[in-house]
């Protein structure tokens, strides 16, 4: 019995000594099982502030975009594995006045792409949160999910801010966990 076991060990040893091939095999195995991750951000928000209707008033306290102003997607072409992910968000100003504050929230769950394989999950981000110049957690999920609708709100607009075309880039970061 021991002799038989030793024969198996010797055979395995010969295989293991080819560690380089084992490494290649591992990469192939892992990546082929994991599949290719993809993310997308579709849409933007161009807004001209509504004119003041009544003389003497300032602009409204806030303006809100359409509920589906932008769509986000986090997907994997072979999402049968345990695909966990999270979105974080920050802004990179091009021309901006710091009295203007941007907020974001998730207004829907999007579409689950796992086709019933494990159900999937999406959580967080359903209340307005401020978008800062430093990255902050937005929401997270499991399994692939596309067309997640996102809404923006701007606060702090005032006629005291010089009239101009202000611009900032909203940066979404998808982290696969």
């Amino acid at each position: 019995m021991i002799e038989k076991f030793m024969i198996i060990i010797k055979w395995k040893k010969a295989v293991f000594q080819r560690s380089f091939f084992a490494l290649i095999f591992n990469f192939y195995l892992i990546f082929s099982l994991q599949g290719q991750t993809s993310m997308s951000v579709n849409g933007n928000w161009n807004y001209t502030v509504s004119p003041v209707i009544e003389a003497g008033n300032d602009f409204s306290l806030f303006y809100t975009s359409a509920p589906d102003q932008v769509y986000l997607s986090a997907d994997k072409n072979k999402a049968k594995g345990n695909f966990k992910w999270s979105f974080s968000i920050h802004k990179e100003d091009v021309l901006w006045d710091n009295t203007m504050r941007l907020f974001v929230k998730r207004t829907g769950n999007g579409t689950n792409t796992s086709n019933g394989n494990g159900g999937g999950l999406i959580q967080g981000g359903t209340a307005f949160q401020e978008i800062n110049n430093t990255d902050n957690f937005f929401f997270s999920g499991k399994k692939g999910r596309v067309d997640i609708p996102v809404q923006y709100q701007i606060q702090g607009l005032s006629v005291l801010i010089p009239a101009d075309n202000y611009s900032t880039n909203i940066v979404y970061t998808l982290r696969e966990e």
Binding site: I2, I9, K10, K12, K13, F16, Q17, S19, A22, N26, F27, I30, F31, Q34, T37, S38, M39, V41, N44, W45, N46, Y47, T48, V49, P51, V52, E54, A55, G56, N57, D58, V70, L72, K91, E92, M100, L102, Y152, I154, L157, S158, V159, L160, I161, P162, A163, D164, N165, Y166, S167, T168, N169, I170, V171, Y172, T173, L174, R175, E176, E177
Partner: protein, 193 residues
């Protein structure tokens, strides 16, 4: 002796297994833990805005002269002074010239012997660069500067907000007075840069 040899090989076997597991974990970690970014712009356009109105309303102010019941008495006015409030909102670009407000008689003539003055007080409430009132002016058909240096600002809305404007009518020359029925005068306000 035989046992020692087997132990050595078993240990080597186990070491190899751990090595493969280690490689597997590295591969797994590299396959996961990936970071992807995407972005889009948000563009907010704040246009230049200037809007002005009178409060509490745009209804006419009525001045009525009454002859004295006593010979030799002066002509009476039902109310020599009446007040309106000027409200405005002004949004300007960084390099925009501050705005000025002018007023003038736009339609109709002030009856001869009558003077129509306007007294602009300091603004109440509001925020921003509200400008400066010139004080008292006589309204004529020529534009009269009444407020200067308005920047991005808003006065607040309604009565008791913004600039109080008191119209002041009087008899400037008795010799030129003539009896007349209603005379309508339109006052025009203009904001310019």
């Amino acid at each position: 002796m035989m046992t020692v040899k087997y132990e050595k090989e078993v240990m080597e076997y186990i070491k190899n297994i751990f090595f493969i597991i280690f490689l597997f974990m590295i591969c797994y970690q590299s396959a996961n833990g990936q970071v992807y970014t995407g972005k889009h712009p948000i563009n907010i356009n704040i246009p230049e805005i200037t809007i002005v109105d009178f409060e509490p309303n745009n209804l006419p102010i009525k001045f009525e002269f009454e002859a004295s019941s006593e010979a030799g008495g002066i002509i009476h006015l039902n109310a020599a002074q009446q007040k309106k409030w000027l409200n405005y909102t002004c949004a300007l670009g960084n390099n925009a010239t501050p705005r000025n407000i002018y007023m003038q008689v736009a339609n109709g003539d002030i009856p001869e012997g009558i003077s129509l003055g306007l007294n602009i007080g300091n603004p109440i409430g509001g925020k921003g660069q509200l400008g400066t009132a010139v004080g008292a002016v006589q309204l004529t058909e020529q534009p009269q500067l009444i407020i200067t240096g308005i920047g991005g600002s808003f006065t607040g809305n309604g009565e008791n907000a913004g600039y109080p404007m008191t119209y002041d009518i009087g008899i400037s020359d008795y010799k030129k007075l003539k009896a007349a029925s209603d005379t309508n005068i339109k006052i025009m306000i203009t904001i310019t840069n």
